[in-house]
Symmetry: C2
Subunit: 218 residues, 2 copies
């Protein structure tokens, strides 16, 4: 019975190892499929007000246990938290083309990416960047490059491109009023054709709004 028991034990161990290998293979395949599947998401606003401290903390120090936030807001799954998650997924670059940017929560997310070494570029509208509550000054002071128009027409786009790969675009200006009170939409599209069209538009505007080309009237 001795050798038989040893053989059974060896067989059981081999079976367990095989099962573990199979589970790992399936997990890897699922992860690869998730990575490969392009993001396609539609967000509608108004969004419930929510706390994004846990998201920001996780992005700032990945893997660290999150300290509980004392604020009374829920930290659930909302249109705002989804938008923040998409932005915080940036690893290399974030190109922002925003008519109006006065939401402090989104400004903190952008500042965090900048600190983490993501190359942030921001194009905005000259008339709106100086309004009360605008986050443009804060972002510039943090060292983020900002360019704006010199025209009478508005720079009315509201889009972001994450890592030249993911387009985030819609009707939503990045203001707390729009996020919490308006009917708005945001499309999240990981599609090379659409991303290229918007990336080209961004580069055109970025060059056109180069301060070296400003025209000054006497």
């Amino acid at each position: 019975a001795g050798p038989g028991r040893a053989m059974r034990a060896a067989g059981a161990a081999r079976g367990a190892a095989l099962a573990a290998a199979a589970v790992t293979a399936v997990a890897l395949a699922v992860a690869a499929w998730r990575r490969a599947r392009p993001v396609r998401e539609v967000l509608f606003f108004p969004s419930q007000p929510c706390c994004i401290e846990a998201l920001l903390a996780e992005a700032a120090e990945p893997g660290e246990p999150a300290r509980p936030c004392p604020c009374p807001l829920p930290s659930g799954d909302t249109a705002l938290s989804r938008l923040v998650r998409r932005l915080l997924s940036a690893r290399r670059s974030l190109d922002l083309c925003l008519f109006s940017f006065s939401c402090p929560q989104l400004a903190r997310a952008v500042q965090l990416l900048h600190r983490r070494g993501v190359r942030v570029r921001l194009v905005t509208d000259a008339q709106y960047m100086g309004l009360h509550g605008s986050q443009i000054g804060r972002l510039r002071r943090a060292g983020i490059q900002v360019r704006h128009d010199q025209h009478s027409g508005y720079m009315h786009h509201k889009f972001a491109i994450v890592d030249r790969r993911m387009l985030i675009t819609g009707s939503l200006n990045w203001t707390t009023q729009a996020i919490q009170s308006n009917r708005e939409n945001v499309l999240v599209v990981e599609d090379a054709e659409y991303v290229k069209a918007f990336q080209d538009e961004f580069e055109r505007i970025w060059e056109e709004y180069n301060p070296a080309s400003y025209i000054f009237f006497p």
Copy 2:
């Protein structure tokens, strides 16, 4: 030679018939492929001002020779003419969800569709529908159903759905200022998943803004 000539003539006739059949088959295949290929288009504004009389005339009386328009504007291929073409492709329904609608050219296109029997529904923002230049009154007088919010927040969407099949959405308000002077984007997407998300949002808003549910304060 008599029977030979007749046989040659019959052969030539058969050849011509075969060639004609082949040309027809290729044309049908190309048409089917065009129909099957979903529309994917990005329009950037500002658009050159352009004359859309020929487009409207062709939509009003298909096949009729277009009368030349006396206006000095070019009738070339612009972002505005492309947008108008997409709208005029509607055969059954046009659902509009527009923060601001003051462009007379787009209002004429919508009115034409209504006259042609397309079911037009329009949702708009209460604060903006009464502004100078708004086309909402004109469209209502023409018999088009319009609903609006009763909120302090804005109904800030800017999208259209053609035949429950094609989504037209972006940053562009339907104003002449936006079309001719602003930096704007419009996505045209024939994609069942995105269309369904926006169609559902439209139906939610349409029901929520039903005048039967208005709340009146004393």
